[in-house]
Amino acid sequence: MHLFLSSCAVQALLSQLPIGYLVSLIIFAGTFALFSLGLNLQWGYTGLVNFGHVAFLTLGAYTTVLLSLNQVPLLLAVLIGSAVAALLGLAIGFSSLRLREDYLAIVTIGVSEVVRLITLNEEWLTRGSFGVYGYPTPLAELTRPTLASRWVMVALWTALFALAGWQLLRWALRHTKRTISNDTPSSLVSSRKLLASVATAVSGGILYLAGAIALLNYAEYPKAGLMLMLVIVLALVYWGLEVLGHSPWGRVLKAIREDEEVPKALGKNVFSYKLQSLMLGGAIAGLAGAFYAWQLSFINPDGFIPLITFQAWIIVVLGGAGNNAGTLLGAAILWAYFSLTRALPDLLNAISTVIPGIPTTLDDARVGAFRIMVIGLLLMVLMMLRPQGILGNKEELTLGR
């Protein structure tokens, strides 16, 4: 009886969770994390200033969607989409990588606009501003998966979270050991850390629960499969990039970021490494494009504006350039911020009932602009207080050349 009551209480609590919303939040944050990991490889590791990252996302999304509309199997369509994005990286690289780095910035920003304008104007292919919809999405046919397969998915989900938690714990332990040996036991630092770990644990727990419930009630939450798939892909890409980053290959990339004349003088083919970085980063962004399209289930050129590029930049800078874990954290923070400020108009309305004079007639466009403005402000504060990003290494950044 007692057990029954408490389980009722838990169920009542869980029923308060906006599960559908959390699932789509996980998908968006995950997609942008994937997207930004590509930029982090190009800029954080190799120092390539790519201001047109959204071009890779666009090509990945449109290629996947258009191919799958023409009965190409989804998996193949995604791989081709990714490859096409990588080829764009190859083309950009060949045309501008031999020039100074600021040229790359200009060329990439131009290319991303060209790609968007092509999707807008080549209506025979992309239906222009009407957009593309009704394309197949993965695991959509699984509207009624068996109980067993649902539990398998929950098990996978649990395993992923356990793995992530384990990694976090190990990292935190290593970190505390280092600070203790560094002999700086400030209570402020430790309380901040405690706060951060509690926040991580609580939000991780909520996301885990929401995901698990969505997977168990698959018929109600058809995006749950997409969510699981995305998180698996994200974990694999993250792991792959970590292996690369810690390999001699990654060492050459970092050397190029520092001073490309040095690896050149030491027998490294700098141009080829830059191409590899640009292509791999592009392929990852192309992969993110497929998930972006699947989540939106309708794409048109408005979804691929330059602002998307700069969201990736915000994520990378926020988390700390050259740090893959930082990129994941940056994506989580940015999307947490987006979801929390969605309630902003309601909040303003509520305040205006108490304090008259507060503008309540903010339309969506204004609120959207305001939210981004605040991000700019926060970034400026962050750059002043912690220029290396949240997880970046300050010593690495502030050393003179």
Partner: protein, 281 residues
């Protein structure tokens, strides 16, 4: 997983008890290791290098001196193809290299340092050295996933060798520090060590003693001489005449992009043309 037990150990690692210098024997001992002739480089209307030539004998420490603006560093850039010569030939180890990209010249065994020491500040001192090693399995994209065991083994061997080199240049205690934390003189030493890590046949040093305190200058000279005794060949640009005179077997003098004189340090010191170029009319 690739069975890497069948892959023979790479020859690029130091065996125990061997000297640090592992220069491959040059193909021919009769020919100079490096010879360049008729080099011309124009920047707009200025002819920075105007038909200069230079020869470096296997096993020597060859000096390259000249007044400021004589074109010494430009000549280095032409030799290593950081700048493309307008005219002229560069023969290294019996083969023309003036058409090759810089990185391939380095792979063939001619490695350069820079006038202002270029360290990779945000990499550790050890990583700076590891970058120098050639033919690393883990530098190839696909190998990073499929040859992990071999890469780990190579890295361990390379680290051992890098630590030996660091001991040799007196930076072993800084191995884990960021290279950006090194002083100017230490950066010069780091660059020399990094060059040695590539196991070259010839090292081009651009002003190894410039802006370095006297104690470190001695250390740098000592390193050059030790490695030379172990078989390494050097071409050195230097302004500090004490260093040039004590180190070099043979000195080439450059002025206004042309060869002015060549000879032993003693001959150069008393050559009236050289004195005039340095002191003015």
């Amino acid at each position: 997983m690739v069975d890497d037990s069948t892959i023979p150990p790479s020859p690029i690692y130091a065996q125990e008890g061997q000297p640090l210098v592992l220069a491959e024997a040059a193909k021919s001992t009769a020919m100079p290791l490096l010879s360049a002739s008729g080099l011309v480089k124009r920047f707009g209307g200025i002819c920075a290098i105007d038909g200069a030539e230079i020869e470096v004998q296997q096993g020597s420490i060859t000096g390259l001196i000249g007044p400021n603006g004589a074109g010494k560093t430009t000549l280095f850039n032409l030799l290593s193809n950081f700048l493309q010569p307008d005219q002229g030939r560069v023969i290294f180890d019996g083969e023309p290299i003036h058409q090759l990209p810089s990185y391939q010249i380095a792979r063939r065994g001619m490695v350069r340092t820079f006038q202002v020491a270029r360290t990779l500040s945000r990499l550790s001192v050890l990583d700076n050295l590891l970058l120098g090693a050639q033919q690393q399995t883990g530098e190839k994209f696909w190998n990073t996933w499929f040859r992990q065991r071999q890469i780990a083994r190579e890295e361990a061997q390379l680290q051992e060798r890098a630590m030996e080199v660091l001991h040799s240049v007196g930076l072993a205690h800084m191995a884990q520090a960021y290279a950006g934390a090194l002083s100017g003189g230490q950066r010069k030493l780091l660059e020399m060590g990094r060059a040695l890590m590539t196991q070259p046949k010839l090292i081009l040093l651009d002003e190894p003693a410039a802006g370095v305190n006297p104690t470190l200058i001695n250390q740098i000279c000592d390193r050059i001489q030790t490695w030379n005794r172990e078989g390494m060949t050097f071409l050195v640009i230097e302004h500090n005449m004490d260093v040039v005179m004590s180190l070099c077997d043979r000195v080439w003098v450059l002025a206004e992009g042309k060869n002015l004189a060549v000879g032993t340090p003693a001959e150069i010191q008393t050559n009236p043309l050289v004195l005039e170029a340095y002191l003015g009319q």
